[in-house]
Amino acid sequence: MLLLSCMAVGANAQNISEDEGILSKKEYARYLGFGVGTTYQSFYDEVLSSKRYDKIGVAACISNTKINDVKYTELMFQGSMLNMERKSDELVNQKIKYYKAFMDYRHMYKLAVLDENIYDVRAGALFSTLFGHRYAPELANTGNVYEYAISVGLTGKVAREQTFSGRRGHLIWDLSIPFFTNTSRPSYMNVSEGVGPTNKALTQMFANNTITAFGKYMRINSRLHILYPLKNGNKLKFTYQWDYYTMKGGSGEKVYTAEHTFMLNYQFNY
């Protein structure tokens, strides 16, 4: 998978210049991005069901990007709400509401690797927060599942310049993988919802939080962007994102989720 992505970027590589447009006093090109797109999501949550749910819907994101010759930072929020479905008889029809939101902050520096005349390679640290909530109304008492992850990890990107209809755009691939995480999933069979007067959503969400390494929480976020410059200095960014994570609760019941998103992002240069 990763090899294929690398080959794809490499096969089309031309040169490395990525930053242009209005520059700040510190010589950063800054972009405020607003994006919306189509998302296909699926999950398999062992706490709720033996069935896999999926759905196509809409996702939106906001981002702020700063880039100069050496440094690259990006703060991005993305969220979606889908009524997930699965194949079944009409008599046992069920939809699960799935809310997913994440915030990724990437902080990278240029690396002198590969051919700098062709590639702009950057790598650095990732700070990420992720929140997921599934609500299955047919599952009385235990149909509410909350999970979150706050992580630090590694991130990297490869960019190269590409001419689109006479305009100098860019083809970019980036990859982010969290390594150390504070995370929480429901207790065994989600009985944490509990027989008590004060057991509310926030209590449930943080009830089983634990600090873990790669084993209990694994997330891969991979994005491929085509950056197309407009005449006014702003940019259009077409993004395909694959976001996959598995998270394990204290008792070993896992959730597997995958998201494919095609997004059109308008980047205001300021």
Partner: protein, 347 residues
Amino acid sequence: MNHFMKKHIYLFLLIALAFASCERLMMPKPKKYSATQLFEEVWSKMNTGYAYFENKGIDWDSIHNEYMFKIADTFNTQQVYDTLSQMLNILQDDDISLNAGFAQSYYKKPTFYKEDFNKQLLEKTYWLGAEKTGPLLYKVIDSCGYIYYGDFNQDVTDAQINVVIDRLKGLGMKKGLILDVRNNPGGKYDNMFTLFKHMGYDTAGYDYSVYLYQSAYKKGPARDEFTDYVGTFMDKNNEKKFAKKIRVLTNRGMLGVGNLFATGSQGFFNVRTMGDTTGGGNCGLTTSYELSNSWILTFPSTKVRTAGGFFMNDGVAPDSTIHTTATDEAAGKDTIIEAAIDNLWGR
């Protein structure tokens, strides 16, 4: 569209397809449905989640050995449902159910106790002229407030209770309140806590906390893997209170959350329960799980005991045991309500 654009679109799609294929490999494959596989799934889910094997004294392993020969992949849906329902009913538990869409299995324990609840009589005399707010039916009888709440599945809110309290006071409630929850089949815990918030009474200068009951949660697949028992409390709060003296009427028709309500009520210093022992059952929190053929299996996964540490399987005994009598019924009287009125008057 120029050559480069086309090339990149193809590249995009190729990469998306590659990632999609990868996740198919990483996610577990959904289980394929077969009668025997479903039997294993139901048996195993109960084996790792059901909270009361110890209390029931049933050897669940031997049930597996028995029923694995009673089910076959050639069975049609109805036969599979019938066999699995039969297996689940061996546990004789009101809180276990299998929802197949076309039918929902459940176990109803046969009871031979006196009902202590005559709806026809209540409708003809005590409920006549009563007002209703949300699920609460209420009126004032002999300067005592009277509320009937018959189903914990019917949502009740603080705002509704406040309206009822004000109205009862306006109608002349002076001696206290009778809260009739007889024949309540149980339901949502939230509604029970809403009622608890309005029990107790306002105290100036000191706080109180009422010990309602204790629970142990399943924390792993082994049959004896439970958390320690933890207490559930109701702290003093600012909600409007029903009355200084409250009498809660109970009978054998109260199940599930109804039992919890009866035992929790006994923790309040201004509440007395009157009538008969409640219907019993497990009272614990149930877990629901969707099986591989989309049927929903529900079973208790939490053990609950009274604040004193007693199981409620055989019901919660009232503070004062009173039964309705044929003589009173013939005279158009509900013995338990009459006793509660006398008690509030101090007669």
